[in-house]
C-alpha cells in the first residue's frame, strides 16, 4: 500500500526550481531513505509531505502530494490534522523545556478538549509511547526530570515518542542521527527498525552506510529530480541509473 505519493510535483523557492516533476510512491510499513548530494532536493521533498515548506512565503508548488490517498493541498484538508498524521523529527533533537512526562503528552494535550484526558489515560499514553521508542525502562522512574537533561539520542527518541500519542501514519525524519555519536546512532536505528511495520517512515540521510543498514527502499535524487527508486539492496548492488551508481560509489563530483 502506498501511503505517501507525489504526482508531478514541482517546487520553486522564488525563481529557483528545487523539485522538478517528482513522482514517487512510498510504501507503508517500510523505511524509505531519501539520498543524494547536498542541494538535490531531498529535504525539500520531505517537507512537502507535511506542507512545512509553505511556512516560507516565497514557495510555490504545482502537482500533487497525497497522504493516504488524499491530496494534502486540497482546501478541505486541515493543516492541523495533517501534522498529526504526518509527524516530523529534525536533525537536532528539540525537547521542550518540560519534564519527560509533559514532553510526551504535549501534542496530545494540545489536540484534546480540556478535561477529556484522565490521569490514567495520560499515564497510559506516556508509557505506550516511551515503550515504542525503547525509552520506558530507562526513564520510567524519572519521568518528572527535565527532558533536556537526557543524553542526545534519548532526546531524539523522546521527540519521536512525542509524536506517537497523536497516532500518526507517517514519520518524517530529517537526518535524525547526524547530531549523534556512533552509539547514539545505533540506538536510534535499532528503534526505527522496530517501529517500521506500524508506520510509513521516510528518512533523509546523507550517510549512505545508514541508508544501507536501515532502509528497505531508497530514493536517489539529483538536482531536484528523482533519478531512481528501488529496493535498497538493488540500488546498492545493481543500480539502474549510471548517475545513481556514480553517487553511491563515491565518484560523483
Amino acid at each position: 500500500m502506498h501511503c505517501v505519493e507525489t504526482r508531478e510535483l514541482n517546487l520553486w523557492y522564488a525563481d529557483f526550481q528545487a523539485l522538478i516533476n517528482v513522482s514517487c510512491r512510498i510504501k507503508h510499513g517500510l523505511i524509505t531513505a531519501l539520498i543524494g548530494p547536498s542541494g538535490c532536493g531531498k529535504t525539500t521533498l520531505l517537507r512537502c509531505f507535511n506542507r512545512m515548506n509553505e511556512r516560507f512565503g516565497y514557495v510555490r508548488t504545482t502537482g500533487e502530494v497525497r497522504i493516504m490517498d488524499q491530496n494534502i493541498y486540497s482546501p478541505d484538508v486541515s493543516l492541523i490534522e495533517l501534522r498529526k498524521t504526518v509527524g516530523m523529527v529534525f536533525q537536532r533533537p528539540n525537547p521542550l523545556p518540560l519534564s519527560i512526562y509533559d514532553n510526551v503528552l504535549f501534542g496530545l494535550r494540545i489536540h484534546s478538549e480540556p478535561g477529556t484526558l484522565s490521569r490514567a489515560a495520560e499515564a497510559e499514553a506516556v508509557e505506550k509511547a516511551l515503550r515504542e521508542v525503547f525509552l520506558w525502562d530507562t526513564v520510567k522512574d524519572s519521568l518528572k526530570n527535565k527532558a533536556t537533561a537526557l543524553q542526545l539520542e534519548q532526546q531524539q527518541k523522546l521527540c519521536i515518542a512525542r509524536l506517537l500519542p497523536l497516532t500518526p501514519e507517517v514519520l518524517l525524519m530529517d537526518e535524525p542521527c547526524s547530531a549523534l555519536d556512533a552509539e547514539g546512532t545505533e540506538a536510534v536505528e535499532d528503534m526505527l527498525a522496530a517501529l517500521r511495520e506500524r508506520y510509513t517512515i521516510v528518512i533523509v540521510t546523507h550517510n549512505m552506510a545508514q541508508a544501507r543498514r536501515i532502509s528497505d527502499e531508497c530514493v536517489f535524487m539529483l538536482n531536484g529530480e528523482l533519478i531512481e527508486h528501488d529496493v535498497t539492496s538493488t540500488v546498492f548492488v545493481t543500480p539502474g541509473d549510471k548517475r545513481t551508481e556514480e553517487y553511491i560509489e563515491g565518484r560523483y563530483g
Binding site: 549512505m208 552506510a209 544501507r212 546498492f236 548492488v237 545493481t238 543500480p239 545513481t244 551508481e245 553511491i248 560509489e249 563515491g250 565518484r251
Partner: protein, 225 residues
C-alpha cells in the same frame, strides 16, 4: 579524478589477468606435451602452477582488504566479488592442467599413439574459451562473455565424440588400452577446463550487467550500450 581505490582496483584486475595468462600458457604447454611429446615443457608448466598459487593468495588477501577498507557498492562490489570467483576458477584450471601432466607422464613412458587430432582440438578450444573469457573481463564486455557460453555445447559434443572414438580404439585393440585410458582422462580434464571458462564468462556477465545467469537456460541478449 581516479582515487586510490581506483588505482588499487586496477592493480588487482591486472594481477587477476596475469594469473589468467599463466593458465593459458599452461594449457598451451600441456597440449604440446600430450600431442607433440614435448616433455621438456613439463617443468615450465609446474613452475607456472607455483606462481599461480602465490598469485591466488595475494589476490584473495587484497580483495578482502579492499572490501573491508572501502565497503564498496554496486559495480565496485560486483567486481570484487567476481574477482574472488575468477580466482577460484583459474586456480581449478591450473589443477586440471596438473592432472593432465600426471596422465601425460604415464603416456610418455609408452610408445606414441597416432590420431591425437581430437585431443589437440579440444585443448585448443578450451584455451580459446579461457582467453575469450579473460578478454571479456578485461573489456567488461557482456557480449564477449556470451559468445564463450555459446560455444560450450560444441565443446561438449566434441568431447563426447572423442570419448566414443577412444572407447572404440580401446575395445578394438588391447595393446593400446592403458594409453587410451590416459587420453580419456586428459580429454575429460580439457572439457572441465572449458566448463571453468564458461563459469568465468557467467561471472563476467554478473560483473558487467548485474545479472546472475548461472543455471539459466537462455542467458538473454544483454543490455544495449
Amino acid at each position: 579524478m581516479p582515487t586510490k581505490f581506483d588505482a588499487d582496483l586496477g592493480i588487482l584486475k591486472e594481477k587477476q589477468l596475469k594469473m589468467g595468462a599463466l593458465a593459458e600458457q599452461m594449457i598451451r604447454g600441456i597440449s604440446a606435451v600430450v600431442v607433440d611429446r614435448e616433455e621438456q615443457l613439463l617443468d615450465g608448466v609446474a613452475a607456472s602452477e607455483e606462481q599461480m598459487d602465490v598469485l591466488q593468495n595475494e589476490i584473495d588477501e587484497e580483495t578482502v582488504r579492499l572490501i573491508a577498507v572501502h565497503t564498496p557498492v554496486a559495480g565496485d562490489l560486483r567486481l570484487l566479488i567476481v574477482i574472488t570467483r575468477l580466482n577460484a576458477e583459474i586456480e581449478r584450471i591450473g589443477d586440471q592442467v596438473m592432472n593432465i601432466a600426471f596422465y601425460a607422464k604415464t603416456l610418455l613412458k609408452e610408445d606414441p599413439l597416432d590420431g591425437l587430432a581430437g585431443i589437440s582440438e579440444l585443448g585448443r578450444r578450451a584455451r580459446e574459451m579461457l582467453a575469450k573469457g579473460l578478454d571479456a573481463f578485461t573489456h567488461q564486455s557482456g557480449d564477449l562473455a556470451r559468445s564463450v557460453i555459446g560455444t560450450d555445447d560444441e565443446v561438449d559434443q566434441l568431447h563426447d565424440q572423442l570419448f566414443r572414438e577412444l572407447m572404440r580404439r580401446a575395445i578394438g585393440d588391447a595393446a593400446v588400452v592403458s594409453r587410451v585410458l590416459e587420453l580419456i582422462l586428459i580429454a575429460r580434464a580439457f572439457e572441465r577446463i572449458a566448463d571453468h571458462a564458461v563459469s568465468i564468462a557467467e561471472d563476467v556477465i554478473y560483473c558487467v550487467e548485474g545479472k546472475d545467469i548461472r543455471h539459466v537456460d537462455d542467458p538473454g541478449p544483454g543490455e544495449p550500450t
